[in-house]
Symmetry: C2
Subunit: 315 residues, 2 copies
C-alpha cells in the first residue's frame, strides 16, 4: 500500500488545467430530512459528468510520450469509458473503448462523438478483447479503479472537498471497486484525521463490508441493484489495503432507500444525480450511519449519468 | 426612482445572518448547447427555494418593532407567500397569508407548517381581503415586488453574482413585475457598467418589452404561460423606472423554448428549476439574445418550486 497524500497533490497539479473544481454545495433544505448539516460535493458537474474523469486524466498524464503514441484502451460503457474517451480527445491521444453489444446506443454515440474508436463484443469477453488489442498494438489498458494513478486522481475530489469545507465531520462516498473511496479517504485522513469517512455500497453487493470483516478482498455473489455504477463484486486488490487503512465503516444500502435519496436530492436539493450517487443519502435515510444534528456531513455525489427513462421511473 | 447600490449593500448586511449565499455554478456542459460560457446563479438553492426570501427578509427587517408587533400580511400562494411565512417564523413575527381556494394543498400545508395563519378566499378578491385585514389589525402588507425595500433585497443576488464572477459579460434575469430585475440590474450596473443585463419574459405576457417601448408602464392582456411565477401583466410602477434605466433589453420567450431550457438545465446541467426560472435559457435557445461563444453569461435561476406533476410532464 503506497498511495500517499503527495501522490494525490501531484495528481491535482497534473489535472488542474483539464478538470473542473466542482462546487461544494450547502444544501440546508435537506437538513431536516437527514438529521445533519448537509453538504454535497457535486461531481455530477465534473467534465463528462462524473469523478471518473479525474482518475482517467491523471493516469493518462502519467504515461510517457511513447506510451501515449501507442494509444489508450478501456473496457467500459459507463462513466469510465466516457472519461477515457474525453480525456484522450483533450490530449490528442488515440482512444479505443471496448463496449458490449448491449451498451445503449446513446452511450456509443457519445463516445464515438468524442473521436474514440469503439470495438463491440459480448459482455463476458470485454476484458479479453481489450487485453488482446493492447498486446497487438502495445497500447495501454486503463483499469477503472484498480490502479494507483487512477486512485490518486479520484483522490483529488477529497483534497478539494476538505479545502472547500475544512470543518467537515463526515464524508460519505459511494463505493464499488474502491478507487474513489481509496483516494478520497487517503486525502481526507491526511488533512483532517478526525473527519470520519464512510463508504456506501448496495446491500446486494456488500463487497467491502464483507471483505473488511474478513481482512482480505472477498468475492461476493453477483447481485442486481439500481446502482448501475457500483457493480464490482470484489474490492480491487490495490484499492483494498488503502481503503481498509482509512475508512471508518461501510453501510450496505437497500435500493428503496437509495431511490428515496435520489428523489429527495432532486426535489428538495434541486440536484439531479445518477442512482448510484444517491447511495450515501440512502444510507442515512436507512439509519445506517451514526450522525448527529450538529454534524457537517458531505455526500460525495459521484456522477450525473441519468437517462430520461431512469428519471421517468423515479418520478 | 431612488433605488441605489447603497440600498442594496445595506440590504445585504441586513439579511446576511438569515439568507444563503447561493452558489454560482460554472456549467460547462451547457456551453455547446447555448453558444457561450454558461454560469448559473442558483437561487433555487435559496432558503424557501427562491430569491423571494431576500426581498421578504429585507423588507421585514426594515420595519419598526411596533410594526412587527402588529404582524405581516401577504397575498400569495407562491414563492412570495412561502418567503414571507418563513422569514416571519425566523424572526418570531406573526404572518398571515391570504390564499385563494384554488391554491394547491401542499402549498397551504407548507405555509401553515411554518406557523403562518392562512386566510382563504376567491382568487379575484385576495388583495381586497389582504387590505381589509391590514386595516383591521394595523398590520403591514408586503407586496411581492412593487416596493423599494423588496427590490433592494432582491438586488443582493446581483451583488453576490458580481462578487462571485466579476468578469461576467451578461446576466439574464426572469422578469415579471420587475422586483428581481430592478434590484439585480441596479447592482450589476453599479459594479460593472459594461456587463449587459437582459430580462426574459413570457411571449404571451410581454409587459416589459411593451412598456419600455412605450416609455411608461403598460397593462398587457392576460396570457397563459407555463411560467407560473411570471404572471404580472403590468410592470410595477416603482420597479419600472429602475428597470428602464438599467436593463439593456428584453426577450419575449415562447413556452416551448422555456420547457426545452428547463429540460436542458436538468439533464445536462443537473439542476432542477421551476419552469419560470428556465426562461433565460429559453431566450438563448430561441435565438433572442446577442451572445458570442467567448461571452460569460450568467443565468439567474430564480427558484426551484417544481411539483412532481410538473416534473413528470417535462420528462
Amino acid at each position: 500500500m503506497a498511495l500517499t497524500i503527495q501522490d494525490i497533490q501531484e495528481a491535482a497539479k497534473r489535472i488542474v488545467p483539464y478538470a473542473a473544481r466542482t462546487p461544494m454545495l450547502r444544501l440546508q433544505s435537506l437538513d431536516s430530512f437527514l438529521g445533519c448539516q448537509v453538504y454535497a460535493k457535486a461531481e455530477c458537474m465534473q467534465v463528462t459528468g462524473s469523478f471518473k474523469y479525474r482518475g482517467a486524466m491523471n493516469k493518462i498524464l502519467s504515461l510517457s510520450k511513447e506510451e501515449l503514441n501507442r494509444g489508450i484502451i478501456a473496457a467500459s460503457s459507463g462513466n469510465h469509458g466516457k472519461a477515457i474517451a474525453y480525456a484522450c480527445r483533450m490530449l490528442g491521444v488515440k482512444a479505443t473503448i471496448v463496449l458490449p453489444y448491449t451498451a445503449a446506443q446513446v452511450k456509443v454515440d457519445t463516445i464515438q462523438g468524442w473521436g474514440a474508436e469503439t470495438v463491440r463484443c459480448e459482455v463476458s469477453e470485454r476484458f479479453e478483447v481489450a487485453e488482446r488489442i493492447c498486446r497487438e498494438r502495445g497500447a495501454t489498458l486503463i483499469p477503472p479503479y484498480n490502479d494507483e494513478a487512477v486512485m490518486a486522481g479520484q483522490g483529488t475530489a477529497g483534497l478539494e472537498l476538505m479545502e472547500q469545507c475544512p470543518e467537515l465531520d463526515m464524508v460519505i462516498v459511494p463505493t464499488s471497486g474502491g478507487g474513489l473511496i481509496g483516494g478520497v479517504s487517503t486525502a481526507v485522513k491526511a488533512l483532517s484525521p478526525k473527519t470520519k469517512v464512510y463508504g456506501a455500497e448496495p446491500a446486494v453487493l456488500p463487497r467491502y463490508s464483507v471483505s473488511v470483516a474478513a481482512g482480505h478482498p472477498v468475492k461476493v455473489p453477483v447481485g442486481k441493484s439500481v446502482a448501475d455504477a457500483l457493480v464490482s463484486n470484489m474490492p480491487g486488490t490495490i484499492c483494498f489495503p488503502v481503503v481498509a487503512a482509512h475508512v471508518d465503516g461501510f453501510a450496505a444500502v437497500d435500493d428503496a432507500f437509495l431511490l428515496q435519496g435520489m428523489k429527495l436530492l432532486l426535489m428538495e436539493g434541486k440536484i439531479l444525480c445518477e442512482p448510484s450517487s444517491a447511495i450515501g443519502i440512502g444510507a442515512v435515510l436507512q439509519g445506517l450511519l451514526p450522525i448527529k444534528p450538529e454534524d457537517k456531513v458531505c455526500f460525495l455525489i459521484s456522477g450525473g449519468s441519468v437517462s430520461l427513462e431512469q428519471l421517468r421511473a423515479l418520478v
